[in-house]
């Protein structure tokens, strides 16, 4: 351990997520084991009790997410972790958390689907599930780590965003990020958003500030008059599903509080973009071969760059639109049938050619494969 309390360890992304969660103040975990996320539950069961936290192995994933929601209202920063089939079961609860503005973190270590699919193999197929998995109109935030280090850093950030925006926040990890052991620097000074108890006098739990956000987070048994209600409700939390105006206002705010704060939430890494003619828009484990391909293309004199997304929801459409105005071609490698490319294409609005580079089966793209797409794009451009 160094002087500023940092320590370096060689650990899996899943272990790094646990350490990040504990560092961010997570003191409650409920889950049910599933490959490739089981290490998170296993390590939580060992790490939480010594720091005064609670670990619960639940009977299933539906119970897990509901226990997390209860724990959050009980005053604990709370999270769960699972993979495809388990995350599917959680969707009703995620929607309930969105409706009730319950801060919580859901870690999805993505594996190949649909159904039981590929338990031990990676994918990025669940990105739309994260955004649209539950019924109704709501917004969540989703972060995508590319390395064990980012599994640590972005899990901390996920908890902070959950507290700030009072939403369920996904950490969309995947089997490769979750299971790769590599260097992680932990500890030291980190930014943690602590819960602030709102004033009790005249407290209305769903009275939002001008930015659409709820100030503070109360807890049960602390003397607040709290009603947590899955039907649409008024500022006091009392049912108002039959009131079309109040219902409209609530759903609008649940979406706007994320959409209108997109600039505060957007988190991207720009690599060699200043003069890039071809840019790879990438995220998660797929970003690793993509960045290597860009490096290699640069060494050959090709003006290639990369926009790596650390937050995919809300989608950074302004950043992509601006990039499409400068680069000629955008390439989108992803381990699914070609999903995020739709958002990239929409945001590009025809100002840049957008090439999809999907991959199914769970084998990570090779750097050569992405570089080949970059070189093809360069040649295609010269021919025009």
């Amino acid at each position: 351990m160094s002087e500023d309390g940092r320590k370096v360890r060689i650990i899996q992304g899943n272990e790094a997520s646990v350490e990040g969660a504990i560092a961010a103040g997570c003191r409650f975990f409920a889950g049910y084991p599933i490959t490739p996320a089981s290490e998170i539950a296993e390590l939580m069961s060992r790490r939480l009790p010594p720091v005064g936290g609670t670990f619960l192995q639940m009977e299933d994933e539906i119970a897990s997410i509901n226990a997390v929601i209860g724990a959050s209202w009980g005053g604990a920063k709370a999270c769960t972790a699972s993979s495809g089939p388990g995350i599917s079961l959680m969707q009703e609860g995620v929607g309930y958390a969105a409706e009730t503005e319950t801060p919580c973190v859901v870690i999805n270590v993505m594996r190949g689907g649909p159904a039981t699919g590929q338990p031990t193999i990676s994918s990025q197929q669940d990105i739309y599930q994260a955004r649209y998995g539950g019924h109704g109109d709501y917004e969540i935030i989703a972060l995508v780590p590319s390395s064990a280090q980012e599994a640590y850093d972005l899990t901390i950030k996920a908890f902070n965003l959950a507290e700030e925006f009072r939403v369920p926040v996904y950490l969309l990890s995947d089997e490769i990020v979750g299971h790769t052991r590599e260097r992680v620097v932990m500890g030291g000074p980190i930014e943690v958003r602590e819960r602030v108890a709102p004033p009790k006098e005249g407290y209305r739990p769903y009275a939002a500030g001008p930015d659409g956000l709820l100030p503070g987070m109360p807890a049960f048994n602390d003397g607040y008059r709290l009603l947590v209600e899955g039907q649409h409700h008024d500022e006091r939390g009392i049912r108002a599903g039959d009131d079309v105006n109040k219902s409209a206002a609530l759903v609008q705010r649940l979406n706007d509080k994320v959409r209108k704060n997109i600039d505060r939430i957007t988190d991207v890494e720009r690599v060699d973009l200043d003069d890039a003619e071809v840019a790879v828009v990438c995220f998660g484990s797929t970003a690793r071969p993509a960045l290597e391909a860009v490096q290699s293309a640069r060494e050959k004199g090709v003006k290639a760059g990369a926009l790596r997304l650390r937050v995919i929801w809300p989608f950074p459409e302004k950043v992509v639109a601006e990039l499409a105005g400068r680069a000629r071609t955008l390439i989108v490698p992803e381990m699914n049938i070609g999903k995020l490319v739709l958002e990239v294409r929409r945001s590009a609005g025809g100002r840049a050619e957008v090439i999809s580079l999907p991959r199914l089966g769970g084998a990570l793209h090779t750097p050569e494969e992405v570089e080949g797409a970059i070189m093809d794009a360069v040649k295609g451009g010269n021919a025009r």
């Binding site: 031990t120 299971h179 071969p289 290597e292």
Partner: protein, 199 residues
């Protein structure tokens, strides 16, 4: 420098633990960049298992093995499957000669250690065959220092099995045979023949 090491065999042989120890030795102890990944089936034992370790002096982006420099093969199917991914010019293969008998054509230099036999007969515990293989690796290539491996074993294996694993590691280091090996430090071997390749 980027070196790609692959450990492959059956589930239950400790293939993944061997790779984890190597990653800890290179990464935590020698301070290199490492990326250790694994491939395994849904079965707890008996299926194919593979553990890959990429070791580099620079940040590792692509974390997977493309063309292994070193293959530790602990089963015949593993050698058959992964021989084609070896770097024919620079590569080396270490086989558990108890379980691997047939060598495909065109292999780079092959080093043999009867890891399972040593584990069963000398340690009465076939589970330490993976440590015998790791010890052999340290003798065959300088990808990792033997002392670093010893420290990594001591730090990552349950205390009651520490001495057993360290002894198995040492036997592998001593017992491996192959082209151009220098005598093991402290071994009673006759002075080795002049190196004819391999290192």
């Amino acid at each position: 420098m980027r070196k790609e090491v692959r450990v492959a065999g059956f589930g239950g042989q400790g293939v993944i633990l061997a790779g984890v120890i190597l990653a800890q030795a290179s990464g935590a102890i020698e301070g290199r960049e490492v990326a250790q990944t694994q491939s395994y089936g849904p079965e707890a034992r008996g299926g194919a298992a593979r553990c890959d370790v990429v070791i580099s002096d620079k940040r590792i982006l692509y974390p997977k093995v493309r063309q292994a420099d070193l293959l530790l093969a602990m089963s015949q199917p593993a050698l058959a499957k992964y021989a084609v991914d070896l770097d024919a010019a620079k590569g080396k293969v270490v086989i558990d000669s108890t379980l691997v008998n047939e060598l495909p054509d065109g292999l780079p230099p092959v080093y043999r250690v009867p890891a399972t036999k040593i584990a069963e007969e000398e340690f009465k515990n076939r589970i330490v065959a993976n440590m015998v293989m790791l010890g052999a690796l340290a003798r065959v290539d300088d990808v990792v220092a033997y002392d670093s491996l010893k420290r990594a074993v001591a730090e990552n294996v349950a205390p009651k099995f520490r001495d057993l694993n360290l002894a198995a590691l040492d036997r592998g280091y001593q017992a491996v045979e192959g082209p151009g090996l220098r005598p093991a430090a402290g071994a009673n071997d006759a002075p080795g023949a002049p190196a004819s390749g391999g290192r």
